[in-house]
């Protein structure tokens, strides 16, 4: 088993932390994992991307070669990565994003991640943890408990409750999507 993930968005949206938590959960669950990041010289704003490879075997080349899952949280990220995909690639985009080009896959989840973060949880910075819940529900790669353990390990003290809510919200978004599509 080898899975490659590409998470992208705007600097400050937390896509790198999202990848770190995915990789950490994978290692806790006995897999090999490798996470790399790509960002511009800006501290905030600008494009930010994070790749995670999860495998049962050794991981040599450290970058994703053909991502199995692509998450785009910003229009700029989608313009860059949500195209030229193979039909078996799963594409997860925020519902605010316009997919102008044909991404090449029909396995698309359009989820109101940023809206849920902003309006339901009241904190836009939870978009990455909501995404994590969504990815968990889509991939079924880990148990919710395993994922929560890594989330709680990596977030600031005092934010446990809202992050647990964010995971649940992400799971719900995927369930709703599957029911309504």
């Amino acid at each position: 088993m080898k899975l490659e993930f590409n998470f992208s968005g705007t600097g400050g949206q937390g896509v790198i932390l999202l990848g770190v938590i995915m990789a950490e959960t994978a290692i806790n669950e006995g897999y090999n994992a490798l996470q790399t990041q790509c960002y511009g010289p800006e501290a905030r704003g600008g494009a930010s991307r994070c790749e995670v490879i999860i495998s049962q075997d050794e991981i040599y080349y450290p970058k994703a070669q053909k991502p199995d899952y692509i998450l785009c949280l910003s229009q700029a990220a989608a313009d860059k990565f949500a195209k030229g995909l193979t039909p078996d690639t799963v594409l997860i985009v925020d519902s605010l994003i316009d997919l102008v080009e044909d991404p090449g896959t029909e396995k698309i989840y359009k989820l109101p991640i940023v809206d849920t973060a902003r309006n339901k949880l009241g904190k836009e910075i939870t978009a990455n943890i909501i995404s994590l819940g969504a990815i968990l529900e889509i991939t079924q790669l880990f148990t919710k408990e395993a994922l929560l353990e890594s989330v709680l390990d990596r977030i600031p003290k005092g934010t446990e409750e809202i992050n647990i809510q964010a995971i649940e919200a992400g799971i719900e978004l995927v369930k709703n999507w599957n029911e309504n599509k």
Partner: protein
């Protein structure tokens, strides 16, 4: 006991390794992609009674680390290309005055401020030749988070054992990547501390006692009064203008690093290899992936990975050069270490270069295509 596997970043593994080896002082000036080394040192050093200081610039960063080492503490500084350039003068000073010191260069794209957040291996010649004079030092290149930990421990051990600056030449990919690591328990790896003066005889700050590799080190502030200078100096440490002394001293500083135990490398699928990739650092990981792919298709390729970059693993490369049809040196630059390999191969085998310097790590398919082209044309 089943030890817990952790997810750790290369730069953090460097700090953990440094602390394992006994680092008690860090001074530097933060620069991407090395900044996490400063950050982690600032957090962790005070917990072991050590000190962290952010200096006014990179020159101050290495200067303070040299001072701390002279005062008896194991010291480290970390930087990237633009900062490494600034450290050259004091790097040479540490070579000349034989100060144990670890300098980390997390390479990014250059020249100048270049590509701050992207990778490169274009400082490989600078580590050896960047400071003036006939410079000699040790340079180690890790290719994983785990190896970053172990080589940082090794770097401190070598610095102490040979009284020399040791450069850990890593790059943005290895420095920033997070992957699995299982940390060793204290005591699992041997830690070497510089040898103190012998009590039964007068201290000769730069004289080598019988059976020793290098002069014994009296930390400043422990009761010994002596001089340290970047000028050629005699055994007492005071400047000497004698040409005879200069010759002997430079030879000694050079020859102390000719110890074969400094040289580390790894061979992968080399037994029957007809064509060999030579790669280090992050690039070597792409090479392993490519060798696996090519071997599966029946191509007899192998990988030679220098871990000690300088002094170069001359004997091992010499042996390969006399055996194989060709060596391809792969590096994220326009052609640097290939010059060293060409020198050693001396025309006995075809040496070629596979390189790129646009911030992106060489991809396995580039190795595969290169090898197939070679086998198709031979």
């Amino acid at each position: 006991m089943n030890k817990k596997a952790l997810l750790m970043q290369g730069n953090e593994a460097c700090v953990r390794g440094a602390l394992y080896a006994g680092m008690r002082f860090y001074s530097g000036y933060p620069i991407t992609p090395s900044t996490e080394i400063a950050e982690m040192s600032a957090v962790l050093l005070p917990t072991v009674g050590g000190a962290f200081i952010q200096m006014e610039d990179e020159i101050g960063g290495i200067a303070a680390a040299i001072g701390a080492s002279i005062a008896g503490k194991k010291a480290m500084t970390a930087t990237s290309g633009p900062g490494f350039t600034l450290k050259m003068e004091n790097l040479g000073y540490a070579v000349m005055s034989e100060i144990p010191l670890v300098i980390v260069d997390v390479q990014r794209g250059g020249p100048s401020t270049g590509l701050p957040t992207q990778s490169s291996q274009a400082d490989v010649m600078q580590t050896k030749w960047g400071s003036h004079g006939d410079n000699s030092l040790i340079v180690l290149s890790p290719n994983s988070v785990t190896e970053t930990f172990y080589l940082t421990v090794e770097a401190f051990n070598l610095a102490e054992k040979y009284r020399t600056p040791v450069v850990i030449l890593t790059d943005e990919v290895i420095g920033h990547a997070r992957e699995k690591i299982i940390l060793p328990e204290p005591g699992e790896i041997e830690i070497f501390d510089r040898l103190p003066p012998l009590e039964d005889r007068p201290y000769r700050p730069f004289g080598v006692e019988e059976g020793d590799k290098v002069p014994r080190f009296a930390a400043f502030g422990t009761g010994y009064r002596y001089n340290i200078t970047g000028l050629y100096h005699n055994e007492s440490g005071f400047p000497s203008n004698s040409q005879e002394n200069a010759k002997l001293m430079l030879e000694r500083i050079h020859n102390k690093l000719k110890d074969e135990e400094i040289i580390k490398y790894e061979k992968y699928q080399m037994e029957d290899a007809e064509y060999v990739f030579l790669a280090f650092g992050s690039t070597s990981r792409s090479a392993v992936a490519a060798v696996n792919e090519l071997r599966a298709e029946g191509y007899k390729v192998g990988l030679f990975r220098p871990i000690t970059i300088w002094p170069s693993p001359e004997k091992a490369i010499d042996e390969i050069a006399s055996k194989v049809e060709g060596i391809c040196v792969a590096e994220m630059n326009l052609g640097q270490y290939v010059l060293e390999v060409e020198r050693i191969a001396a025309g006995r085998t075809k040496v070629s270069h596979l390189g790129r310097a646009n911030g992106d790590i060489l991809r396995p398919e580039e190795f595969v295509n290169h090898a197939k082209e070679y086998f198709n044309e031979r």
